[in-house]
Amino acid sequence: MLFTIAWRNVGRNRRRSAVLAGAVGFGMLAFIGSTAFMDGIGIEFVAGAVDLQGGHVQVAGTGYSSNPTIETRIADPDSVLAVVSALPAASAAPEVVTPGMANSTEQSGGIVIHGVDPVREARVTVLSDRVVEGGWLEGGGEATQVVVGAGLAHRLRVGLGEKIVLMASDLDNEVSAGAYRITGIYESGSTSFDKINVYILLGEAQRLLGFDDGVSTVTIRLELPDESVPVARQVTAALADQGIEALTWEERNPMLEMAKKAYDFSAIITALILFAAVGFTLVNSFLMVIFERIHELGIMLAQGVKPAYIRRMLFLEAAIVSVLGGIVGILLSVGVLAYWIRNGMDLSGFAEGLGAFGVSTIIYPYLDWSHLGMGFGIIIVMVALSVLYPAIKASRFEAVEAINHV
């Protein structure tokens, strides 16, 4: 009966109930939208740190992560690959990395040169799939092939098939250079990444820097990303005596983790502010509700209805309105987000800051269903808080005065 009364009371002033439900729905939309968006950015953060380079776990000489010089290297990459091949569901790719310069006939610029094994690299990073012109590096192809980002090609004003000169300091601190022909151009999704990263064959990079068989890093990609920590520990334990350590992507990017937390935090604050605004609307409406019904509340109190019953009734009314609003909000969210979830939202116009983290400027909002639960949790708390004052007020009415109030 309590529910019946509450339900019918909600139907009494349909327009007001609809407006209230709309306010709650809008709050829900804002909450789900902002968390989905922040989760999307978070996923791009991870993708930037994992998919484009570095993988879930990166193996390198001890200290490489904080000070990546060419002197810190893995002298015997085969021993690392052997350790990884014993792990289940893991792929590994050796890589030589060095800062350098790229020169075309017209322009030059600072870059990072990656020497990779084309086949192995394709298993640990997504770059081979992101080639938009020409093709990915070919193991059996000419030694001087280079794959560059679209941003760099644009900057150097070069195109497919044209030559650029790559320069870097070798182990003896001598400038080493070579001419390379562009055989592929990629677009990773991150404009800043595309401007600085070029890919040549592993052997070619080793020759350029005088590395012999050594490499800078071995990138490990896992089918189960959650295994990153144990895998890193295991690899480190196996290779520590060779001066080698393995770090998870989170350990390599402490700033990323902080940035992600900051984004999450701001999303939650925004949502709370919104819900607080909705909450005050609820307080106001329910104060109106009880003053409109003061006479009938008086009749109920006179008959001996417990104040707690009246409080529960009002709470239930607010909860009904809010749950309806919440459902509307979820439907709205799914409707609004569906397009962007499929096609991504292009933030390149105002997302230079994201690019700095190696994050793609196209964000795909991510609907985490647990956030729907959290949204409903917040709604319930908000309803409880905002109905508290009107309900207490209503249950304190003196029956006589309330009845006389018509």
């Binding site: 009494r12 009749i299 006179a302 008959q303 001996g304 019953y309």
Partner: protein, 237 residues
């Protein structure tokens, strides 16, 4: 229901005084030392001109209001000692109310309104429905009206539903403050006839206020108030 108060007084009021103090105006002495005994099973009207203190008297007796001085005992139990919550509970189990108008919860049907007290008392649904429907029919509210909302009932029908609600839980006492004031004379008289019939059939004590002579006529005891004091008190056949 057993009736221990049959020989003693069901209501025993002594020295009831109620002064309304308002910061903005002079204090009003609405009741000035009323002594009143009402026996179980009585059918009593409180009459008197407007402002004579009828409503105040009923409110103080039911525990809705507290006297400034004096005491009310119901079944020998002094209700002025009860806490607010205990008073509410006392009313729930012992007192049925009928007010002047707008007695009913607008969102509930006639039958739902009538069973509301039983619901609050925790009476199981099947028994609740049965007793309520029987009571409504006895009061002349036919089954075709049971599912109507108050706004779809006439004033007289609404008051009958309110009386049904007051009676269905078998209270010790039904208090009705001008139950007929919003009804035309004929309808009011018919409501009173029904109330008296119920009083005779169930022995439930009725105390109601009125200034309608047609209603006074039907009372078996008529108490007249003037300026907050009892002016006359006559028993009739």
């Amino acid at each position: 229901m057993s009736d221990p108060g049959a020989n003693g007084a069901l209501i025993r009021a002594r020295g009831l005084t109620r002064v309304y103090e308002d910061r903005t105006s002079v204090p009003v002495r609405a009741l000035a030392g009323v002594d009143l005994d009402i026996r179980s099973g009585e059918f009593t009207a409180v009459a008197g001109p407007s402002g004579s203190g009828k409503t105040t008297l009923l409110n103080v007796i039911s525990g809705l209001d507290r006297p400034t001085e004096g005491s009310v005992a119901i079944d020998g139990r002094d209700i002025s000692e009860l806490s607010r919550a205990a008073l509410a509970d006392f009313r729930l189990h012992n007192v049925g109310f009928v007010f002047q108008a707008f007695n009913l919860i607008p969102v509930l049907s006639a039958a739902e309104n009538a069973e509301f007290t039983l619901l609050m008392q925790g009476v199981p649904a099947p028994e609740r429905h049965r007793r309520t429907r029987e009571m409504l029919v006895q009061l002349g509210v036919g089954p075709e009206m049971h599912d109507r909302r108050p706004s779809e009932l006439s004033g007289g029908q609404q008051q009958r539903v309110a009386v049904a609600r007051a009676l269905v839980s078998n209270p010790r006492l039904v208090l009705a403050d001008e139950p007929t004031a919003n009804l035309d004379s004929t309808t009011g008289s018919r409501l009173l006839d029904t109330m008296r019939e119920m009083n005779e059939r169930t022995g439930i004590t009725f105390l109601f206020s009125t200034h309608d002579p047609m209603v006074m006529e039907r009372a078996r005891r008529l108490i007249s108030l003037r300026d907050g004091a009892i002016d006359s008190d006559e028993h009739r056949a």
